[in-house]
């Protein structure tokens, strides 16, 4: 009996075109759009040598100190020091390059280096910082010369030999690639869309909703038994759909989930449980037609995906910091946070808290479903 219902519900669900579109096709399409539109943050922030020009005038020709300082961070410099791609041009050429956005700015020697740019920005700030540094060293040279002329030799050798006073310490092995939040929220949304299957299973045993429900209610079988085998079919479908989505994300779109396959699977199962049980709960407590139930399900799903950062990345951070409770009771956020913790943290505490919350949610949702549906009788339908 159990297997019979399971296999038939399984077939019914995967032939439901509408549900399959929303749970299966829609997330894959959306992920593809994300991939096309959302720039790879790693590349966006990555430092690229800045294109600049120097106006080749008499003062530049005569300023050996400036020439050598500039060339130490320009084209000939080793890769770790390379900051600028420098072109030596006439003033007209430099202006032309700037107008056409070929360079960030140019240096014009007129009683010391002056910088000409088109707008304020980060590359411009770096260029300014570099020139300021040059001026500051010149000033220091004068200061030292005044205070202790004997040390000049040593001072000059120290200028040539800049030391680094910084040691990098990292708390994690993963790079903080924040565009992943979009994909994590997308997976969370897909998990919650699985609620459609849960709702469909519920209306399928409610006599006032579907003819099948009426027929099932007549049958001399325990309703709980029927329900649990059909909800199992829904969960199995949901888990497989999410797995396909993950495979697509990982291999077709190159999205990184970290390397802990088993933990990823655990998250998928927990997420699917929450999704299906959430749908079942909505299906049981909302009185009304199927379209109303599904409408409420989809709008709550969209709202929780939004709050977990699917449309606007910063939203997740704002909610987590300003309304921490909201972050914990929003199932979409808990699912995406589990992926985030798995990818980004080297410890598992936060991950397991999330997984625990997810299973806790499913239990609560199923209990609510159970208590609303049990002993439901229909005087007339």
């Amino acid at each position: 009996m159990f297997l019979h219902i399971f296999s038939y519900r399984f077939k019914c669900l995967i032939r439901d075109k509408q549900a399959m579109f929303w749970i299966f096709m829609f997330p894959i399409l959306l992920a593809t759009l994300f991939k096309m539109a959302i720039p790879d943050v790693g590349n966006l922030e990555k430092f690229e040598p800045i294109n600049i020009a120097v106006v080749n005038n008499v003062e530049y020709q005569d300023s050996d100190a400036f020439k050598s300082t500039l060339s130490s961070v320009s084209d000939s410099a080793s890769e770790s020091n390379l900051m600028f791609n420098t072109k030596i041009t006439t003033e007209e050429e430099a202006k032309d390059l700037l107008v056409n956005n070929k360079i960030t700015g140019y240096i014009f020697m007129d009683n010391g280096p002056k910088v000409i740019v088109k707008e304020s920005g980060f590359s411009q700030t770096i260029l300014k910082g570099f020139i300021s540094n040059y001026l500051q060293v010149t000033l220091q040279y004068n200061n030292v010369l005044e205070a202790n002329p004997a040390a000049m030799q040593n001072f000059l050798s120290e200028i040539a030999d800049n030391k680094s006073y910084i040691k990098e310490v990292s708390n994690t092995s993963a790079s903080p690639n924040n565009s992943l939040v979009y994909y994590y929220a997308l997976i969370a949304m897909t998990c919650l869309y699985g609620g459609m299957l849960g709702t469909k299973e519920v209306i399928n045993i409610q006599a006032n909703q579907t003819p099948q429900g009426a027929r099932v209610s007549l049958a001399p079988t325990n309703k709980l038994k029927v329900f649990s085998s059909s909800i199992l079919a829904a969960t199995v479908i949901q888990v497989s759909i999410i797995l396909i989505l993950l495979v697509y994300l990982k291999f077709a779109l190159n999205i990184d989930f970290g390397n802990q396959l088993l933990y990823v699977l655990l998250t998928v199962v927990a997420g699917s449980f929450v999704g299906v049980s959430f749908g079942a709960m909505i299906g049981s407590i909302i009185k009304g037609k199927e379209s109303l139930k599904l409408g409420i399900l989809i709008s709550t799903t969209m709202m929780s995906s939004f709050l977990s950062g699917m449309m606007w990345l910063d939203m997740k951070y704002i909610v987590t910091n300003k309304f921490p409770i909201m972050a914990y009771i929003n199932p979409a956020n808990v699912i995406s946070d589990a992926f985030y913790a798995l990818y980004y943290y080297d410890t598992y505490t936060r991950f397991f808290i999330n997984i625990g919350i997810l299973f806790g949610f499913s239990i609560i949702f199923y209990l609510i479903t159970y208590f609303t549906m049990r002993r439901q009788k229909y005087a007339s339908i």
Binding site: L98, P113, Q124, I126, G129, L135, Q140, K167, M311
Partner: protein, 391 residues
């Protein structure tokens, strides 16, 4: 005008599902308008300050304290408790891009000539990282050179020298070349998102009504009624147009209370005209969908793919300048791409010359061509359906 009246009766029945998008949009706009700082077009250069966190565990040392002061002048200091998780979160969401830790005894060991290092946590390979490294090493190397080359330098002397040196800054001139200045107002985001909302709301509203009218039994009844077909069609089209105009007007009007004085500019007039044009494109798309599609659920699916797809592809959500060229090439076959391009040009418009305005007019014209082409296709389909007796 019975048909026209019925049109709005149907809209009224579905007002809840239609208005969801509308309210979510308004909510998001209000949220975002408070979050993104306005950047003003300026002829003076302003340095970019990166958000950083400093933990000074060497409060006893003047050298370290002066260094902390130097950093706070050159970066925006964010206060975050020294807990691994909150720091990691802040770094991930770019609330900070660089975390500096000055270890206990740093000042003393720098002075004594021992190995003194500051630890940092940053986004490796990023430009913030390079710049902050540059700043810190510059300061430290300068300090170290004073310590090494001026014997018995006191901490006060060192600080005076450093403060003086570091206050010297390069002379940077911002030169504008008689073109538009890069100014960004949040109203730009509002009108970019407008494309998404108008697609969602109008397609949903118009197709719902047309689908109801196209129900074959209702249609047969209409054909049997003593009303001219042309008048019937006219009223349906008029209804759709009025519905679209109402949504357009509502959203445009709301920009005034949300953005206040920023919205009262001549640029806003152009933005509103541009918004009207894309609304006409959406109207023709809805008309097409309403006549081609047969079921409500198919329309829901298409609406979502179309609105999200167009929005993501053409830069409604993600700024166009961040997208790759190949994606933009594909996007140029969509009307929203031209809409967003027009919004961007309008918001950065400062000089009203024909040279600056004509590309905007071109972008609008392209959208109108889209509208006309789609409308033509849907009229052909409607005609064909009627002549082949498919009711």
């Amino acid at each position: 005008m019975q048909v026209f009246k019925t049109y709005f009766k149907i809209v009224k029945k579905n007002i809840l599902s239609i208005s969801i998008y509308f309210f979510v949009f308004i909510g998001i706009s209000i949220l975002i308008s408070g979050q993104i700082p306005e950047s003003k077009a300026d002829t003076a250069f302003s340095s970019n300050k990166s958000p950083i966190v400093i933990f000074n565990y060497d409060k006893g040392s003047n050298i370290s304290n002066d260094f902390e002061k130097f950093l706070s002048k050159n970066a925006t200091i964010i206060e975050i408790p020294d807990e691994v998780e909150s720091l990691q979160d802040a770094l991930y969401f770019r609330k900070v891009v660089y975390i500096v830790r000055i270890p206990n005894g740093f000042g003393e060991s720098l002075k004594a000539g021992n190995d003194a290092v500051i630890s940092k946590t940053a986004i490796s390979g990023s430009e913030y990282n390079i710049y902050m490294d540059l700043l810190i090493n510059k300061y430290m190397n300068t300090a170290k050179r004073y310590i090494n080359n001026i014997p018995n330098i006191t901490n006060e002397q060192l600080n005076t020298y450093l403060e003086k040196d570091m206050s010297v800054e390069a002379d940077v001139k911002v030169q504008t070349f008689g073109e538009t200045v890069n100014s960004e107002s949040n109203i730009k985001y509002y009108f970019n998102y407008y494309a998404y909302v108008i697609f969602a709301v109008v397609i949903l509203g118009v197709t719902t009504v047309i689908l109801t009218f196209n129900n074959s039994e209702i249609k047969k009844r209409h054909l049997g009624s003593p009303i001219k077909l042309s008048s019937y069609n006219f009223q349906v089209i008029l209804g759709s147009l009025v519905f679209t105009l109402i949504v357009w007007a509502l959203i445009c009007l709301l920009s005034f209370p949300i953005y206040g004085s920023a919205a009262f500019t001549t640029n806003t007039v152009l933005l509103i005209i541009n918004a009207l044009i894309i609304s006409l494109v959406v109207l023709s798309i809805s008309f097409l969908l309403g006549n081609v599609m047969k079921s409500k659920s198919a329309i829901d699916a298409i609406t979502n793919i179309l609105t999200l797809g167009l929005s993501f592809l053409s830069g409604v959500f993600v700024p166009q300048e961040l997208m790759s060229d190949s994606v933009l090439k594909i996007a140029s076959f969509t009307p929203t791409y031209w809409y967003v391009k027009a919004v961007n040009s309008i918001t950065s418009l400062t000089v009203w010359s024909s040279e600056n305005i004509s590309p905007i007019v071109n972008y609008m014209a392209i959208q109108l061509i889209f509208a006309a082409a789609i409308l033509a296709i849907s009229l052909v389909i409607v005609k064909q359906k009627r002549s082949s007796n498919q009711i």
